[in-house]
Amino acid sequence: MKINDLAQMGFYLIILVLLAIPLGRYMAKVLQGEKTFLDKVVGPLEKLIYKVCGIDPNEDMNWRQYAGALIIFNVLGIVTLFILEMMQGHLPFDPEKLGAMRWDLALNTAVSFVTNTNWQAYSPESTMSYFTQMAGFTVHNFLSSATGIAVAVALIRGLTRRQAQAIGNFWTDLTRSTLRILLPLSIVGALLLSSQGVIQTLSPYLTVHTLQGPSQTLALGPVASQEAIKLFGTNGAGFFNANSAHPFENPTPFSNLLEMLFILLIPVGLTFTFGHMVKDVKQGRVIFGAALILFILMLALTYGSEVAGNPLISKIGITGASAMEGKEVRFGVANSALFATVTTATSCGAVNAMHDSLTPLGGLAPMLQMMLGEVVFGGVGAGLYSLLTFVILTVFIVGLMVGRTPEYLGKKIEGFEMKMAVLAVLIPSACILLGSALASVIPAGTSSIANPGPHGLSELLYAFASGSANNGSAFAGLNANTYFWNLSLALVMFIGRFGVILPLLAIAGSMAKKKIAPVSAGTFQTTGGLFSGLLSGVVLIVGALTFFPALALGPIVEQLLMWAGKAF
């Protein structure tokens, strides 16, 4: 452990919180339709959009209408993106003449981007035209994260409204989130990244005669614009195959710091937004605190394991860090471990080091964060609504333990909400375990494994965890561009996204109808450090009970064998 490493991590966390607090306040204003400084610019544009689309911004939807609009919009997104990918050879901005994709890969990719997963079973620089990257991927980077925010805000309305039917308007939530939160942040972010060397050009690839020769072709593209929203929207799909390890996506230690800030800013900010919207900032802080506890635990595990390194490499006789396979010199061990933790705490999935080459326990922490349901701040919007699911579970469990009626924000939690909350936790977990169980016993699954031994099982587990949690990072040795993997992961990504969103919107609808009881002596406090501890404890216990056996057979046994000097 080095002082400089800790200083960087501490600095990162402090800056993150200092920026997230005002952003959280701003987002609360935007989402509640209050006046903000962007009104003059964005206001008229929004009015125009509503007019063109025939949207009544004052319409207030019940949960079924809200869910209907959301599903239709997202399914339409999948269909149009699929068509765009299949047609890219006939569309503009294809200087490299990359042509159409295979249908199963196109479908996987379309689902992947619309569900905010951004799993990439392809190598972008040799597959995707500039047009597909811009008009397809960049668009869904915005819309999928705006969808996440919309669900979160609908759930908050459900928790705060008294005896109401409606939980808001999906169209305006989506539009406002895109134009007032994601777009302005992305423009500023893209320029900041470019100052460090992230490229932004529509020129074709450039072939140069290298110093020693013979030649090198530099893949180029409009990277900065996609990079910024890839991070702010916790999307994570790289413009290039190497993602944020590619020097054109992440050229310097400072750009790396910016990227990690961009990833967590909105998810952390939203915990504060929650506090503002429920008119009790302490309720936001308690959720922030719980996620922070988990984050620091996971960071310690990843960083500790990477610094301890790989004794099998040390044996060769080296100086410097032993776990440098799949890492970049400019980032080193500390910034690679921090980035890996940040990107899997949220549902981002961008990587600045190859997770497949992480030490076993260093790879376990990212995997576990996805398995926990992306609640360590989580994806944009998705993190908050998943955390609130666990809040409901916690309130219920604690209520049982101390014999009080489970209540949250003055609303009774009853059978229906519990059923829905449990569904929202069980559906993704079932996807991960059933999916990897299937993949580990059929040749179509196992034939894609790249690394032998227990690491092979880790690759399968990681893939399904990543798909189901809509993260998108990978143990990328796995050859995922096959019919089995493209189609099974497309299914898992879809279920993992909407199988959580629908139960939560149902909770929003049923909670909105309830009365708000005044706080009494019998109310269990959901603010303060105790509740943060309980909440993070419940997340860990549920996750550990569900996944410990699988993890024991993968990364845990691999770590033990590595210590024992065994290789495969």
């Binding site: 400089n4 209907g68 239709i72 339409l76 997104g77 190598s123 040799s126 811009m134 960049t138 668009v139 819309l143 169209w171 777009l183 423009i187 470019s194 100052s195 460090q196 060397g197 932004q200 050009t201 690839y205 450039l206 140069v208 020693q212 090198q216 072709t217 893949a219 614009s225 929203i229 290039f240 195959n241 190497a242 020097p247 054109f248 230690p253 400072f254 790396n256 490499i313 060769i316 006789g317 100086t319 410097g320 396979e325 799949g326 010199v329 910034n335 690679s336 990587v351 600045n352 080091a353 790249a450 690394n451 032998p452 031994g453 227990p454 690491h455 880790s458 691999e558 590595m562 495969f568």
Partner: protein, 193 residues
């Protein structure tokens, strides 16, 4: 239902125009105006012709050049249209064999003892396969070889390495590093190649 689908479709179209066309084009315009060097790939020129990007590593094998890290990008390494790492796991025998082989090669070409420790970045493949940097230790170990191949004094080459060693950004971010392409270009300039 049909009405909702219609609204969804038009909204998707409008959002595509704003976020998929206008946004990247506006950023392209701004970047080309404010950061033209960076936006176009931080290219380095020799005799007016681009020889590469300061950010993208290249293959160097000649003894008179500093060598970069092993690369898993493309078939022969440093293929900038095929970025990526080896994705070999920590207990994979292939990884361990490769690393041992590379360590032996580094020792041999730099005239080191058979058990001399080797900087780890010279025996492990980078994440991008395009890592432009090596650690200062990895540069130091190559100084004698490069000096000999170019008939320069060791002190002179080491001075150049020191000059091209970038410290942590702002004093604490990232790790100290040496950009191999820029160092090699400076070497060429020094010896008039």
């Amino acid at each position: 239902m049909l009405k909702t689908a219609g609204r969804a479709f038009v909204l998707l179209l409008v959002m595509t125009l704003i976020t998929g066309i206008a946004y990247p084009l506006v950023v392209t315009g701004l970047d080309q105006l404010i950061f033209p060097h960076q936006a176009n790939g931080s290219l380095l020129y020799k005799d007016g012709k681009p020889v590469g990007s300061a950010l993208i590593g290249q293959n160097f094998t000649a003894p008179g050049y500093f060598h970069g890290r092993p690369s898993a990008a493309g078939k022969t390494g440093y293929d900038a249209t095929s970025s990526g790492g080896s994705n070999l796991g920590p207990t994979n025998k292939t990884l361990l064999a490769e690393a041992a082989k590379r360590a032996a090669a580094v020792r041999k070409e730099n005239g080191l003892a058979a058990n001399a420790p080797v900087p780890s970045d010279l025996i492990t493949a980078s994440a991008s396969g395009l890592d432009p940097d090596i650690t200062p230790a990895a540069a130091r170990i190559q100084v004698a070889r490069v000096a000999k191949a170019r008939n320069l004094s060791v002190a002179k080459v080491q001075a150049l390495v020191n000059q091209y060693t970038e410290q942590r950004q702002f004093g604490f971010l990232g790790e100290p590093r040496v950009d191999v392409l820029r160092l090699n270009m400076a070497l060429d300039a020094l010896t008039g190649r």
